[in-house]
Structures are given as C-alpha cells and as structure tokens.
C-alpha cells in the first residue's frame, strides 16, 4: 500500500532526525560545560541557552511554514503515534508542571499529589472516551465536532466561547511563566521578558500553525525531559545510591518522618517557632513603612552585635548577626521585598507538616473537608484534561484511529516520566534541607542556600531568629519554585545544568502557550469566521485570517499578563474546571448516547458552565471583590469545596441536564444517528465521510 510505505518511511526519517537532534543538543550542553570550566561567565551560559533554544524553535518553525489548511490545522494528519505522544507531552506540561509541581509537593506533602494524580489519570478518560472517536470524525476543532453532532450554530458558538474562555485563562498563566523565566535568567525586566518570550512563541506557531507547533513541541519535549531528569538522577544517586530514585526514595521519606518528629519535639525549634510568628507580624507591620522599619531593625541588630561582642559570644554567632545586618536593605524597593518575604515566616509558627500524611487537620471535620477537596481537585483536573481543546485537538493529527489510541498511550508515558519524578524530587530536596541546611552555621551555609537567599528573598529567606548562629527549621521560609530551580546546585552540579533547567522550563511554557494560542486562533478563524460568517472563504484566506488572529490574541494575552494577575495555580485550575463543565458532558454523551440532541447539548453546556462560573464568582476572593459580593464565603460554599474545584458541580449538572432535556425534546434525525455510528467504527463499508480538508 502506497500510504503505508509513505508513513513508515516518514516515521523512520523522523526518528533519524530527532536522534541526531538529541545528540546535537547533548553535545551543545557538553560544549557549554567545557566552556564553563574554561571560564565562561554564568550570564553568558544563560544567554546561550535562551537564544540557542529559541533560534532552534524558530528554525523548525520557518522550515515547516505552510498555507495548506489541513497542514495548518492538523499537521496534515501524518504525525505518528510516538511523536504525537511527545508533542502532547510538551503541549500538556506547562511552566506550572515543570517549575511549580515539585515545589507544591515540597510545601504541601501528600495533599499536593492531587495534581499529580489528576494530570495523569485524566488521560484514561481521553483514551477511553474521546481520542479514537474524535480521530475518526477527523475535522479541525472541538467546536467542529459539537457543531456536526448536535447541528446548528448555537452549540458551535457555545463551544467557541468555552474554548476561548478556558484557553485564554490558561495561556495567561503560561506567558506569565515565560516572563518569569526569561527575566530571572537574563536579568531583563519582567514586562520585557514577557514580550521576548512572546516572540519565541510566535516564531513557532505563526508561520506553520499546527504543523510547526507539532514539530517544535517534539523538540521542546526532548529538552524539557532531559532538563528535568538530569539533576534528579544526580541527587538520587547522592541520597539513595541508586540511579532510579523514583523507586528507591522510600527510605529517604522515612528519614524525613523521623526528622519531622525530632523537629516537632525539639525545645529550640519550639522556641524559634514562637519567634517566627512574632517576626511575621513584625514584617506585616513593617510593610507600612519598609525603610523606617529596616532602619529600626539595623539599629536593633547593631545593639545585638555589641552585646554579643561584650559577652564574648562565639565567632560564628557574631558573624551571623553581622550577616543579618548586611542583609537588611535600606533601599525602598529592596526593603519592601525583604519585609514581604519575611511575612512568609508566619507559616513556621506551627510544627512541620508531616510529608506523607494525607489530609491533616485539627478535627475530624477538618480532615474530612481536606479529603473532599483533595478528591475534588483530582476530579476536576481529570475531567478537565479530557475536555481541554488544545489537548483533544492533538488527536486529530494522527494518521489513523489505531494510531490515535496508541498515541494516548505514548502521551501519558511521556508525561508520566515527569510526574512520577516530581514527588521524588520534592522528597530528596526536603531531605537535603532537613539534614544539611538545618543545623548548619549561618556563617557557613551550603553554597546553594547562600546564593539563592540573595537572588530572591521570596524564594528563600533564612534568618537567625534566636541569634544562636545556627539554622533551625523554623528559620527557613521557602518559596516552592526554588525546588526545581536550585536542584542542580543542591546536587552539586555545575552551573551549566542550571542553564539547562531554565531552558527546560522555557520549553515547557513556550510549548503549552503555542498550543493554546493556536486553539484560540482556530476557534475564531475556523469556527467563527469560516463556518459561521463566510463559508465561501478560500483556503488561503482562512489560513491568513487565522495567522492574523493568532498575532492579535497573542498580543492581548501578553498585555493582560503584564498586569501580573494573581495566582498561577488558581488560573490553571480554573481553566480545567471550566473546560470540564462545558465540554466533557456534551462530547462524551455525543459519542456514547445516540439520543442526546441539540437542545440537551445547548442547555446542558450552558448549565454546566453557568454553575461552574457562578460557584467561582461567589467563592473566589478576586471575583468576589470584583463583583462586590460581601456575604461570607462560607455561606456560599457547598460541602466546603474550594473555588478551584467548581467543576465538581459543573460536570454532573451538565450530564444530568443533557440527559433530561434530550429526553423531553425530539430525538435527533437519521443523519446524526449515522454520524454517531460513523465515529464508533474505525472503518465501515459504505461509510459516510466527515473528514474536513
């Protein structure tokens, strides 16, 4: 068969190219490592990683430019399962996964695992309920399927609205991540970092649409996974003596448990916990006039130093006070940063959280609410995964239904490599902090801690609260993002690996932003413009419209991002809840229940989305302030569920509404029944053809 040989040659060529590419990338890293030994500065290593990788993505982007609609929207439907898996992996894993995940696990222990489970288990739903059927349907977008299955433009419009709503929320979080990494590793200002990153995003997707995005995402996946695993394996060998720490960190977790017990009972730690609470409230008050407060603190420290000298205190204690004095800034901006980082010490007022304990809480009721919220997040992340258009769209690009199924397997496998490493990284890093950082003298901190506390106090603040010159656990306030960023240094690796990690984080953020921007531009150009406004538009015109829209959406997203809107994790979570509520019921019932009809879908999607948006609006502080809701949050909460898990209500309401309304209104006609049969069988004799060109 001609297509068969065509596909397998293509596959073999891809394997060859990407093997050469991977080898070339490793050689590049080794060359930089040698250059570092020869004296290349850290800033230059950072620049090399940033610009070399972006230039690489740009080259792939330019090489794969296209004006053909099938190439632009679905990469010509030629992407083999294995490579589609890698591209989906990069599309999926965002800055939040790459940089934030291990930190979240470090800080919240077991309870952070809800994201690990949710963001992997969702692929089971993709595999069983959606991927093969959408591939058989074979058009360009998710609203395409809703439009064809339920008929009419109303369902399609709701689909377009929901796709834009959740993708836009998500893309803002990604561009934020891009800005953060670019500014941290090059010293550019955040706002400029956002636009440099944006240029990186656009060169990938602008010229070649899905085709360019696919092949750059494969390249980005390779970089991001090498960057994530290298330092962890190293750290794992250091603490477990075994190169696959993911299976061997159990004993390390036990040691952490023993250390937690020791810290909880230790009298010095207990005393310092009290001081931490006082320091946090002092810092909160100091924020009113940071410079004056810094002056006061310097005066107090000088007295303290004089007293230590008079009492002939050990040298390391004097040095510690001296260092605290040097680290207290009087510059207004720095002083503000300093005090606001110190408010984080408040978390140290209570004994350390037990890392492996699920749903801790003072009462049974608190523990049960924590458990419900844990399962709520798992639920929303899973159903959101099986409903986010930028992911589902990827399964339109494989050559066949058969490969779509295999492709979900590879997708999860490649995602799994990172997610199953994150919990291990969190534990290893925690052990390092508990056993090496705690107990060290302030005058001789481990090199990574000494460096990072100066880089950004919100990532790491260590302060000698009881002036004994020795680090206690309650004297350390850590920001989650430092875990991944500092791992290479914790493991004692050269700086080149830190540059590699930054390049990996950038690859993760860029690849996700690419996929999302393309989804938004396609929803507007394909669904709104071509399908609803101008069905006679030529192919070239449609692709041009899409490119222009891509540019416009990207600039709007960057503009919104430059206002630094709130909590990244909440934005991401909200996108999942919204997608789950809007899409999942209509998509799945559309495939598995022939009786589901247009009115069911319309009212069901609106009801699911509506209930989800309502719940977020009345329970999330940002929206409450915006809308002027004043009654206490608790009076709006159902089962104590947090705003991020609003999809827990949206999904069942959506399913139930579609079910009831469909039964109350007439059954869909024969053409729809045939469409459903069509998507259920990979190949039928005398079948209809729904593929779009």
């Amino acid at each position: 068969m001609a297509i068969a040989t065509g596909n397998s040659t293509f596959n073999a060529e891809l394997k060859k190219y990407y093997s050469i590419y991977t080898g070339g990338f490793i050689a590049f890293v080794i060359a930089l490592a040698i250059a570092e030994q020869a004296g290349m500065s850290r800033a230059w290593i950072g620049y090399w990683f940033l610009f070399a990788t972006i230039a690489l993505y740009a080259t792939i982007g330019i090489m794969t430019r296209t004006v053909d609609a099938a190439e632009y929207y679905v990469a010509g439907r030629r992407v083999p399962a294995f490579f589609n898996g890698m591209a989906t992996g990069a599309d999926w894993m965002s800055a939040a996964s790459f940089i934030g995940m291990a930190g979240t696990l470090y800080l919240s222990g077991y309870d952070g695992l809800s994201f690990v489970m949710g963001w992997t288990g969702g692929y089971v739903l993709v595999a069983l309920f959606l991927a093969p059927y959408l591939r058989k349907f074979g058009q360009f977008t998710i609203p395409d399927f809703l439009g064809a299955r339920y008929g009419g433009n109303i369902v399609r419009s709701i689909g377009v609205f929901a796709a834009i709503l959740c993708s836009f929320t998500y893309v803002v979080a990604q561009i934020y991540g891009v800005g953060l990494i670019t500014s941290r590793f090059t010293g550019l200002e955040f706002g400029i970092g956002v636009f440099v990153g944006l240029a990186g995003i656009l060169v990938c997707s602008f010229l070649g649409g899905m085709r360019a995005v696919t092949w750059t995402q494969v390249a980005q996946y390779i970089i991001l996974i090498i960057a994530y695993l290298t330092p962890v394996v190293w750290l794992g060998v250091k603490h477990t003596g075994f190169p696959v720490p993911q299976v061997a960190y159990g004993p390390v977790l036990q040691k952490i448990g023993e250390l937690e017990k020791k810290f909880t009972a230790d009298p010095t730690e207990q005393q310092v916990r009290g001081l931490a609470k006082a320091a946090a409230s002092e810092a909160a008050a100091a924020l009113k006039d940071p410079v004056k407060a810094a002056g006061d603190r310097r005066a107090a420290l000088e007295q303290r130093l004089a007293k230590a000298k008079a009492e002939n205190a050990p040298d390391y204690v004097q040095k510690s006070i001296q260092a605290a004095l040097t680290n207290t800034p009087t510059d207004p901006a720095k002083a503000r940063e300093y005090w606001s980082a110190r408010t984080n010490l408040g978390a140290n007022a209570s004994p350390p959280r037990k890392h492996a304990e699920p749903f801790p809480g003072p009462t049974d009721q608190a523990r049960n609410t924590a458990r419900l919220n844990f399962l709520g997040i798992v639920f929303c992340m899973m159903f959101g995964t099986a409903a986010l258009p930028h992911i589902l769209m990827r399964y339109y690009t494989t050559p066949s239904v058969r490969q779509a199924r295999t492709s979900v397997f590879w997708s999860l496998f490649f995602i799994f490599l990172l997610y199953f490493t994150a919990p291990c990284l969190a534990v290893l890093a925690k052990f390092d902090v508990y056993s090496n950082l705690v107990g060290s003298k302030f005058a001789e901190l481990p090199a990574w801690a000494a460096a990072w506390r100066l880089v950004d106090p919100s990532l790491l603040t260590i302060t000698d609260l009881n002036f004994d010159g020795i680090v206690q656990l309650a004297e350390i306030a850590i920001g989650g993002d430092i875990i991944v960023l500092a791992t290479p240094e914790i493991a004692g690796l050269p700086y080149v690996v830190s540059g590699l990690v930054a390049a990996g984080g950038l690859a993760a953020a860029l690849s996700t932003a690419d996929g999302l921007l393309l989804t938004i531009a396609n929803a507007l150009s394909h669904d709104l413009y071509y399908k609803m406004l101008d069905p006679g538009a030529s192919t070239a015109r449609r692709v041009t419209v899409s490119k222009v829209l891509l540019l416009v959406v990207a600039v709007i997203a960057a503009w919104v991002t430059s206002y630094k809107p709130g909590n990244i994790l909440f934005l991401v979570g909200a996108a999942f809840s919204l997608a789950a509520s809007a899409f999942f019921p209509a998509l799945v019932l559309g495939i598995f229940w022939k009786r589901a009809n247009k009115w069911g879908a319309i009212i069901g999607m609106l009801a699911g989305l509506g209930i989800c948006m309502y719940y977020m609006a009345v329970t999330y502080p940002f929206f409450r302030d915006f809308l002027g809701v004043t009654a206490p949050i608790a009076s709006y909460m159902w089962f104590g569920m947090n705003a991020i898990s609003a999809g827990v209500f949206g999904v069942p309401v959506g399913l139930l509404t579609i079910f009831i309304v469909s039964l109350l209104t007439p059954a869909p006609d024969k053409a729809v029944q045939e469409l459903v049969e069509h998507v259920r069988y990979p190949n039928l004799a005398g079948d209809i053809d729904t593929r779009a060109t």
Binding site: M117, G121, V124, V247, G250, L375, F379, R402, V408, F409
Partner: protein, 88 residues
C-alpha cells in the same frame, strides 16, 4: 448503511472493556484517595502505601490501562474487520 450483528457485537465488546478499565481507574483514583490515611499504615518498598499509590502506583496503573485498551481495541478492529488497513 446497515450495521450487522457483528458490528453490534464489536461495539458491545468495546463498551465492556471500557467499563472494566473505568472501574479499575475509579478504584485506583477515588477509592484509593478516600482510604489513603488507612493505606498509609501498610508499608510497601519502604513507603507508606497510601502515599506511594498517589505518588507513583496509581500513575503506573493509568499507563497500563491505556496500553491495554490500545492493544485490545487495535486487535478487536482486525477481528471484526473494521480496521483501516496497515498503517504502521
């Protein structure tokens, strides 16, 4: 186009495997999560079992579920002659 008896049987088998795998997914996710505190009393490879399952075990089960489904369905396609020809 009329669906034959064989087609209906194919779809029924698809629904059965989907249901079985979905039950396994549900147990590995929600039942496991619900009882995580109790599972932590058991030690596995040096880990408390509840922690291990949520961090590692359930993830491995998910990968296996999807692998099994792809293999089973790709075979079933051929058996019931609804496959798309050789493409890889």
């Amino acid at each position: 186009m009329e669906l034959t008896q064989k087609h209906h049987e194919y779809w029924r088998k698809n629904l059965v495997i989907t249901a079985i795998l979905l039950v396994i997914w549900f147990v590995a996710t929600f039942v496991e999560g619900w009882y995580a505190r109790d599972l932590n009393n058991i030690t596995f490879l040096g880990f408390p079992l509840g922690f291990y399952m949520s961090a590692q075990g359930s993830l491995i089960i998910y990968v296996i579920i999807i692998g099994v489904y792809a293999r089973y369905m790709n075979k079933l396609d051929k058996e019931y002659d609804v496959h798309e020809g050789e493409d890889d």
